[in-house]
């Protein structure tokens, strides 16, 4: 292991390291801790220009309560879920199939199709912006959740296919050959043999895509407006406009908006990290 394991170092460094850890983490998260502290301060603390003292009393419940009762925030959050979950299902489904095709079969253009998916996944959003916006308007899907979902599914399919294909490539190929010898049909091989083995990849991708789509801001601004369809990333700007300089509310709103992917991460950490490393770093 590198660096030298702590057990093999001097006693002073061991103590030093153990006490350095919490200090480092606090320093690293300082900007966020400040916001968390703001969000539990009562409004009176701010009117006095007193930003940095300890909260005079715990006002977390009323601040966070107001985020849900006095603003369209619940609507935005619901929109975010209604955009994110169908996208995850769609992108994972499409890429399971595409990854199966590219990972199992040898055929002409295999690598070309695969590289096209990878390349497409890396292009800047702006080169797609105008045509995708026009297409969405023409289809009558501007300012609808479906319009966003369809685009997200299409775009995420690039990344997901890269991931799925590499995962399937690493499966034992003899399994598929044995199945063919048994006379099992190709689609059954996909459904009964490969798909069950893909469960960890599906879990990893789902968590990751959930986070990506939840956090999307650009497409939300390009394809939607107003509380009817906007997800929370775009909605937070109107939320901020509503509350102006009420920093306790702005902070509470930001934390609410950020929370779902954070919870997802802490609950599904292992899958999340497997996804992030693109399955390439084992």
């Amino acid at each position: 292991m590198f660096p030298t394991p702590l057990e093999r170092t001097s006693r002073t460094w061991q103590i030093g390291y153990q006490s350095l850890l919490p200090v480092a983490v606090i320093a690293w998260l300082l900007p966020l801790l400040a916001v968390a502290m703001f969000s539990i301060k009562p409004s009176g603390d701010f009117t006095g220009g007193d930003y940095w003292s300890w909260p005079s009393r715990f006002a977390g419940f009323e601040n966070y309560g107001r985020v849900f009762t006095d603003s369209p925030m619940p609507r935005y959050i619901l929109n975010s879920f209604m955009i994110t979950i169908p996208t995850v299902i769609g992108a994972v489904a499409l890429s399971c199939m595409a990854g199966f095709a590219l990972g199992i079969y040898r055929f002409r253009f295999n690598l070309l199709v695969f590289f096209l998916f990878i390349a497409g996944n890396f292009v800047p959003f702006q080169i797609l912006m105008i045509p995708v916006r026009d297409l969405t308007i023409d289809a009558g899907l501007y300012n609808t959740k479906l319009g966003l979902v369809l685009f997200h599914v299409a775009f995420q399919t690039g990344f997901c296919t890269l991931f799925m294909r590499n995962f399937i490539r690493a499966l034992p190929y003899e399994l598929i050959e044995a199945a063919r010898v048994e006379g099992i049909k190709e689609y059954q091989i996909f459904w009964h043999i490969v798909l069950p083995l893909m469960k960890p990849a599906i879990a990893a991708l789902s968590v990751l895509i959930f986070t990506f789509i939840w956090n999307d801001y650009f497409w939300a601004v390009v394809l939607t407006q107003g509380p009817q369809a906007q997800p929370v990333t775009a909605g937070i700007t109107s939320f901020n406009a509503q509350f102006g300089v009420a920093y306790h509310m702005l902070s509470a709103g930001s934390i609410v908006a950020a929370l779902p992917p954070v919870l997802m991460f802490f609950l599904m950490q292992r899958h999340f990290i497997a996804g992030l490393t693109l399955g390439a770093v084992k």
Binding site: M1, F2, T4, P5, Y17, Q18, L21, A24, V25, W28, L30, P31, L32, Y51, W52, L94, M97, A98, A101, L102, I104, Y105, L111, F115, L116, F117, I118, G120, F122, V123, P124, F125, Q126, I127, L128, M129, I130, P131, L135, L150, A154, F155, T157, E186, W214, N215, Y217, V222, T233, N240, Y247, S254, I255, A257, P261, F265, L276, T277, A280, V281
Partner: protein, 304 residues
Amino acid sequence: MTDTTAAALDHSWFHRNRKTITPWLFLLPAILFFTVYVIYPIIQSISLSFYKWDGLGEAEYVGIANYERLANDRAFTVSLVNNLKWLLLYLLAIPAGLFIALFLNQTVRGIRIYKSLFFFPFVISQVVVGLVFTWFYDPNFGLLNGILGSVGLGPINVLGDPALATYGIIAAGLWPQTAYCMILYLTGLNAVDPEQIEAARLDGAKGWRMLWHIIIPQLKPATFIAFVVTIIGALRSFDLISIMTNGGPFGSTRVLSFYMFEKALSEYGFRMGYGAAIAVVLFFIMLFFIAYFLWSMYQDEKGR
């Protein structure tokens, strides 16, 4: 020929060619979606960049006029230079991520929680990161000036100063990006061959020499991915700029992705053709890197 034999023939034709047809059937939905929403729009944007179009009326063909105008557009030059700053400074996330990963690569109690907490910023949306850092930099109550003040410096208005604003935004972007690189390296460090390390230790290698000659070469796959995601992240920067400064002060924090958006969907009338031309420039910058990534991946594929 009776119907039944035709069906049988049909079935056997499919049966004989099933290994050729099946992959394309499985690929069909993905290719369809991807073509409609990604491949075709790229071609449309490139073509649109030779037109003048307000998004409503007829588009008017203007040849390379949009590109000629770009050459004399100061806002475009500023954006391009800022993109370069983003690219170069964003790469700092890689050594910073490695440093933190090395720091955290121990097996003490509770280390998993510490790793998660360090990774935390990456999971938060850039919009919230932008808000958090806007308040962090705030000249009136921001924590930064509080800290600077306590050591007798400041106050500075990071986002209000055209000379500092871009760097302030990049610093905010480095926060989650460093976290991402850190996690890549932590996973990579897990896979480093312990026998090589022990062998090198017996040979008297340690510290920097060990890191440079033994560890970093073995982290190459992690470094490659860190490089890819950092370059892409740098060129994609939009959310932070939009939230933190909206391109200001005096347009000093614009980058191509932001400037394109601003032009195409401007409040003063849509300039789609000009916007498309900016997007095409950004696309070709990105294409240069994409080509390199694909080439590396291709070498890898051949090697298998």
